[in-house]
């Protein structure tokens, strides 16, 4: 059994804060949008909590960005220079999830601190971290203080359009979280990846090759 220190402390902290914020934001978001059907809390409470956790998410994104930029580890999100090879790897990763995993093949990707993500993860996380989360935070910010950001809102075409983007992303993140949690169980044991995100150490079978 090989133990790799895959998730440094700040990233683990960031991940769990992120996870909590996402959950809280999804629940309060649902409460705000479907008040007639859900009564977990009052609308005011939902607004307050949603705003607070929105800012936590914003600050947390800052921690993540700062950490990765300062340590230079941001490159783990970036696809390699050889795109052809990357695509090939991505296809073989997809083949693994779609077929190999069922017949007991090994995961073609072995995570190391320098090459943490498989090509599919890399693609998804790059899009999420560089585009979708900033967009979600930005639209959330605009909606948080519509008076302050009225110019930006108007530039975007109005509050309804900003909100539509925000809600669309919320729906995407909600479904993504389900898939994300499922994929997290696909380590060498069901809890291996989850434990790794707590302890920092990913256990891997010594494959012998």
């Amino acid at each position: 059994m090989k133990r790799i220190y895959l998730h440094p402390g700040p990233i683990r902290l960031w991940h769990w804060i992120n996870a909590t914020s996402f959950l809280v934001l999804i629940v309060t978001g649902l409460q705000l949008r479907y008040r007639e059907a859900i009564s977990l809390m009052s609308f005011e409470q939902a607004v307050d909590i949603h705003n607070w956790f929105g800012f936590i998410l914003l600050g947390n994104y800052g921690i993540w960005l700062l950490y990765y930029l300062l340590t230079g580890k941001i490159k783990i999100y970036l696809p390699p220079a050889n795109l052809g090879k990357f695509i090939k790897k991505a296809i073989s990763q997809a083949k693994y999830y779609g077929y190999g995993i069922f017949i007991g093949e090994e995961n073609p990707h072995n995570s190391t601190p320098e090459n943490k993500f498989n090509p599919l993860q890399q693609t998804a996380y790059l899009q999420i971290m560089a585009l979708l989360i900033p967009l979600q935070i930005l639209t959330g910010l605009l909606l948080w203080d519509m008076d302050l950001f009225s110019r930006w809102i108007n530039l975007a075409g109005g509050v309804k359009i900003v909100d539509t983007v925000h809600v669309f992303l919320f729906l995407f993140f909600s479904s993504f979280m389900i898939v994300h949690i499922y994929l997290a169980t696909l380590g060498h044991t069901a809890t291996a990846h989850i434990k790794a995100m707590i302890t920092g150490y990913e256990e891997e079978h010594e494959s012998g090759h």
Binding site: F43, V47, Y97, D147, K160, L171, F176
Partner: protein, 599 residues
């Protein structure tokens, strides 16, 4: 003395007989001169003095001699009949008419002074009354009595004489002609010219117009009387009548023709411009003026609010009793009286707004189409935004999309107090609201907008999108949504803060009743708003994301398609892992076998 004169005369005659003729003539002549001189000295001063005193009496005697009537007049009150009448009427007494009016029938000598009828005796005019009978006639009113007595005037002043005067010609044969005494007086009867003489312009006018004077235009009675008291108490007390009635003077009284009484009022209001051009300019931008210009003559002009002669101070128009708006807007005023403002005003609070505080006195705009009402509210409630911000997220955006009244008036379906969503169409660049004519022209007949003025839920999401596209192609437009009360009437019934809408859930839920009445609003030429009923589904349709980009309420106007999309995402998010797990479970044997093979 007389004995002395006789002796002197005898001595003169005796002396004449004794002396010679020549001598006598000389002596007599001397004596005669001396006698004459004696008489002059004796009586001259007396006669001269008497002549000077009596001289003025000569023309009087002459006139009296020439005009028997006047000669008789001096004795009018002295006649037996007059003495008899005055026997009672010189004491204070009143006559009461059927309508309760009272008339003093107490007369004194001075009441007849200067009368051109002083020659006449009482019964010449009061013909019912004779020396031997005094019937107790019943008259409906003072005026009825005056009209009755006036019949006697025609006994002497026949129609031909009367109609010769243009003033009389205008009045005398009219059904509602005033009694003669209105202008000429009852006992001290004078020519009107005498009454008008030596008066300033206003007094001159009031000689007639101070009386109960009226005319009629196409059967409508138009009062021409002006109470001197009203002018005196008005803010225009220092003005002469001719300052406003410029065409008239002591020498000019042109005949003016108007199609109706209303047109006369409108024409007269034009005079106000001379001194108040600023107010007139404001008025020209007002809804009242636009309605008037649109041909509705009942729209108010200056004198409708300020009155014509009793023009009061502005402060008067700001009281519950004096506010002129209530004359036309009675229902609105009733709502206002019930409001927190109306109650406070009645309680004596002078700082409370009344009509003109919010709608302005001259630049009255159709409240629905402008931001003036919000500005008016915030003008007094300066801390409103700050106070709302303490509990209301995005308070500014709320205040922009929701009118003050929409929250601060208790729900009241009876008076149009339900919330409605108004979708105003405006030019994207200039922000100017689109006019009804412009919109109907662009959309054409096939849009059938006029059918949506009455019938509910008329414009479907598809149609709304088509309308938007057509308008936008012509020139970029935007829809601005506003939550308002269904009717402006109810907007006046503002209530206490504690009764206001405060719970977020009242709006922010899909089943909120505040979003069930939706109207598309365009401007009419008079500044009012024309609405077309819109299907409320438009608010939550994906078709409206672009046109209604600026109107959104979390929960209530959420785009429904996103709900279904969300469901699809979640189902997808769950079913992919579920399918994956299933296949993994099903292929467990394969993996075991392979693992076994390896080992």
């Amino acid at each position: 003395m007389f004995k002395g004169i006789r002796n002197l005369a005898q001595a003169y005659l005796a002396a004449q007989a004794r002396r010679g003729k020549a001598l006598v003539e000389t002596e007599d002549q001397n004596l005669a001169l001396r006698l004459r001189n004696g008489l002059v000295v004796l009586f001259g001063p007396f006669i001269g003095l008497s002549f000077i005193v009596l001289l003025p009496l000569i023309p009087v005697i002459f006139v009296l001699a020439l005009i028997p009537r006047i000669a008789l007049g001096s004795a009018a009150l002295e006649s037996d009949e007059a003495r008899m009448c005055m026997g009672c009427h010189s004491a204070p007494m009143t006559k009461t008419f059927v309508n309760g009016e009272k008339l003093s029938v107490h007369l004194q000598g001075k009441d007849f002074s200067g009368s051109v009828h002083s020659f006449a005796s009482c019964t010449n005019c009061h013909q019912d009354v004779q020396l031997d009978k005094h019937p107790s006639a019943k008259y409906a009113s003072k005026r009825d009595f005056a009209l009755h007595v006036a019949k006697s005037c025609k006994m002497c002043h026949d129609d031909r004489q009367l109609l010769a005067s243009p003033v009389h010609k205008n009045i005398v044969n009219r059904a509602n002609a005033p009694p003669c005494s209105d202008c000429h007086g009852s006992h001290s009867i004078r020519k009107v010219a005498v009454l008008k003489a030596k008066k300033n312009t206003s007094e001159y006018c009031l000689t007639c117009h101070g009386k109960d004077l009226s005319t009629s235009i196409k059967g409508e009675r138009v009062s021409l009387s002006v109470k001197a008291e009203s002018i005196k108490n008005s803010v225009h007390s220092k003005h002469a009548c001719t300052d406003c009635h410029a065409a008239f003077s002591t020498t000019n009284h042109p005949v003016q023709k108007f199609a109706s009484k209303r047109e006369l009022s409108i024409a007269l209001s034009g005079a106000c411009r001379n001194c108040h051009p600023d107010k007139m300019k404001q008025l020209e931008g007002s809804i009242h003026y636009r309605v008037l210009a649109g041909g509705n003559l009942s729209a108010p002009v200056c004198i409708d609010c300020h009155s014509s002669h009793t023009v009061g101070r502005t402060a008067m128009a700001e009281t519950l009793a004096g506010v002129p708006c209530k004359r036309c807007h009675e229902a609105v005023f009733k709502m206002y009286r019930e409001s927190v403002h109306g109650v406070a005003k009645a309680g004596g609070n002078k700082h409370v707004p009344i009509c003109s505080s919010c709608h302005f006195a001259h630049d009255v705009k159709a409240a629905g189409a402008t931001e003036k009402m919000k500005e008016a509210c915030l003008g007094c409630h300066k801390e409103a935004l700050e106070l709302h911000s303490k509990w209301l997220p995005n308070a500014g955006a709320h205040l922009e999309a929701v009118t003050c009244a929409a929250c601060h008036v208790p729900e009241d379906a009876e008076h149009g107090g339900n919330r409605s969503i108004f979708l105003y169409v405006s030019d994207k660049e200039t922000g100017a609201a689109l006019g009804q004519a412009q919109v109907e022209k662009i959309l054409g007949k096939e849009a059938g907008l006029e059918n949506c003025e009455e019938s509910g839920n008329c414009i479907s999401p598809d149609e709304f999108w088509t309308i938007y596209r057509k308008l936008d192609r012509e020139s970029p437009v935007q829809f601005t949504g506003k939550m308002k009360l269904e009717s402006g009437l109810a907007s006046h019934r503002l209530s206490l803060k504690k009764n206001a809408v405060r719970k977020c859930e009242q709006c922010h839920r899909a089943d909120s009743g505040f979003f069930t009445d939706v109207k598309m609003a365009v401007m009419k030429t008079d500044g009012r708003v024309q609405v077309y009923n819109v299907d409320p589904k438009v608010l939550s349709s994906y078709m409206a994301i672009l046109p209604l980009g600026k109107f959104y309420a979390i929960g209530s106007t959420r785009v429904r398609v996103l709900d279904y999309l969300g469901l699809l995402f979640i189902v997808g998010g769950v079913s992919v892992p579920a399918a994956h797990i299933t296949v993994r479970l099903l292929t467990r044997g394969v993996r075991k076998k392979r693992k076994g093979g390896h080992s």
